[in-house]
Amino acid sequence: MTQTIDTKTVKHVAFLVRLGISEEEAQTFSGQFSSIIDYFNMLNEVDTMNVPPASDIANAENVLREDEVKPSMSREDFLKSAPNSERGYVKVPTVLGDE
């Protein structure tokens, strides 16, 4: 299952991860991705019929705790890290567009 990853696909996945990308970068990544994915295709050799996917690592399941109210970081401290804030809220430009 060898496939080349063209620049169109690169630009598509870049947008999926909200990453701005130039035409030149898309071309470089396209070449690199094809050889990396090609290497990963070696997993196809492994017979995984009836093998369950790993889902946990610490053999833990359903770790529960009481739902108690406890002190957490104050709004003031939280906003110290925010690039832009107003009246106690993080401020960002338009989230939902006009259309």
Partner: protein, 486 residues
């Protein structure tokens, strides 16, 4: 007396017998950092004022004889992916270059409680993505054994700082060899504990199901001492084990005679540097002389460890790094942004380095419609087989011995042009993380004047055996005592 080269155990003796104060010890370490780190460049941030303040408090604790732990007054540094309140935590990324956390990681809190003294934060591959420290957005760290060579990665700054005696111990983080591989390259002892043994709260996540914080030290005894202080259950991290943390140092000197040492044949194959192979064979003979039974074992899925590791890393990292969006903390590139998506696109384009970009895009690709089954799900299935390999091996032997890397430290720039070539240098250290088992790296000799690393891999939660077997080796060898000339 050279204060900077002391082990934790030695420094502790001097402190509690009042032959030296923590302020003296800390000042000596800071002076050495300011003199020597110009060459090595292992520190991103040096915390002079905070360190001296903490050292003063440690001296008060020692004077009163209250609450004195083996780490009280001991200078240490931490990988810059572990949150420190009031001290910038960058992950060696432009996107977090000026980020100052408002809270401590659990590990940071535990070390502060034990009275250890933070002297600084160490360089790393950006967000832990790399094997040479060359993916730091700030500068390259140099291998103290030869400044033209890399220290390994991603905890390369921690390993180099330890090797150059710029801390009495350091804290690294191992997602797929990031403690062990640089420990091997720099002649340092370092452990990747069992997944879930040390809390990840406050660690800036790379791969949430692999990430394991672990100490890097001069020897196995020190390593055991530090792990005792940072391990344990944490209500802030539900993947931490509830079981009590053993006293790792208590039985560390038990003889290893009669224990079964497994040699996984898939780790001793063509492609290994001759000097690495002969050092490892010598280590096996040493264990034989110590009375261990040597058995060849097979971990048949070893060669698939690398694709499994990287595919799952890409997928989890692409999700974890979504939080770096330029709105709540860190770099924000908002000029001319017409909507919030514009901020995301611009900030992440400017703030992430090429390797981070590659990996999060490949992660989105492996998770996207049409490819999920072929890549992500397939990798999780083969991960089950990797885990079973270890389970089968550990039904026959107590512990496994393997190299940390097929070669010694390579030259700066040697592998930067080909990402896949760089990934392949992790081939011996990646399989443990998808399986969750613990492993300790320790110095095993030299090949062409560069350190050779070996690792011991153990059963889940059996760090005690790792320390015991590593300690036995260090009682009859002195590789770990060799120091670079700087």
């Amino acid at each position: 007396m050279q204060l900077h080269t002391l082990t934790i155990q030695e420094a502790h003796q001097l402190l509690v017998t009042k032959q030296v104060s923590s302020v003296e010890l800390t000042q000596a370490m800071l002076d050495r950092i300011h003199n020597v780190d110009k060459k090595v460049k292992s520190y991103v941030t040096v915390t002079d004022d905070l360190a001296l303040e903490q050292a003063k408090k440690a001296d008060e604790r020692i004077a009163k004889g209250e609450n004195v732990t083996p780490l009280t007054g001991i200078p240490f540094s931490m990988k810059d992916s572990i949150s420190t309140r009031g001290v910038r935590t960058t992950c060696s990324s432009k996107i977090l270059e000026n980020y100052v956390p408002q809270y401590n990681a659990t590990v940071t809190d535990k070390l502060a409680d034990s009275g250890a003294v933070l002297v600084g934060k160490t360089n790393m591959d950006e967000f832990g993505m790399g094997s040479s420290c060359e993916n730091s957005a700030f500068f390259n760290t140099h291998n103290p054994w030869n400044l033209d060579h890399v220290p390994g990665g991603s905890s390369g700054g921690s390993a180099a700082a330890m090797s150059a005696s710029l801390a009495t111990f350091t804290i690294g983080e191992d997602t797929g060899g990031s403690v062990r591989m640089p420990a091997g390259f720099c002649n340092v002892t370092g452990i990747k504990p069992t997944y879930g043994r040390v809390s990840r709260y406050g660690l800036i996540a790379l791969v949430s199901s692999f990430d394991s914080i672990g100490p890097m030290t001069r020897d196995a005894y020190d390593c055991a001492t530090v792990l005792e202080h940072i391990a344990g259950h944490d209500p802030h991290d539900s993947t931490t084990y509830q079981s009590p943390v053993p006293n790792y140092t208590q039985h560390i000197n038990k003889p290893v005679k009669g224990m079964k040492l497994g040699i996984p044949k898939e780790y001793f194959v063509a492609g290994m540097e001759a000097g690495v192979e002969s050092a490892l064979q010598e280590a096996i003979r040493t264990y034989e002389k110590l009375g261990m039974e040597i058995h060849e074992v097979s971990l048949p899925h070893t060669k698939y460890g690398l694709p499994v590791y990287y595919l799952l890393l890409f997928a989890e990292a692409s999700a974890n790094l979504a939080r770096m969006d330029g709105t709540r903390f860190g770099l924000s590139v908002s000029e001319g942004a017409k909507d919030v998506i514009d901020i995301y696109l611009k900030t992440r384009h400017e703030g992430f380095g090429d390797e981070v970009k590659r990996r999060i895009m490949l992660g989105a690709y492996a998770l996207s419609a049409g490819y999920y089954d072929a890549y992500y799900l397939k990798a999780q299935k083969v991960r089950t087989l990797l885990r079973r390999d270890f389970e089968t091996a550990f039904s026959k032997v107590d512990i496994l011995l393997a190299p940390t890397c097929p070669t010694t430290a390579f030259k700066l720039g040697e592998k930067t042009s080909d990402p896949l070539e760089m990934y392949l240098s992790d081939i011996y250290v990646v399989a443990t993380n998808p399986a969750g088992v613990p492993a300790i790296a320790l110095p095993a000799g030299f090949s062409k004047d560069m350190p050779v690393g070996m690792q011991l891999i153990g059963k889940h939660l059996d760090e005690s055996t790792l320390f015991q077997v590593a300690y036995a080796y260090q009682q009859v060898t002195d590789w770990h005592k060799q120091q670079p000339l700087l």
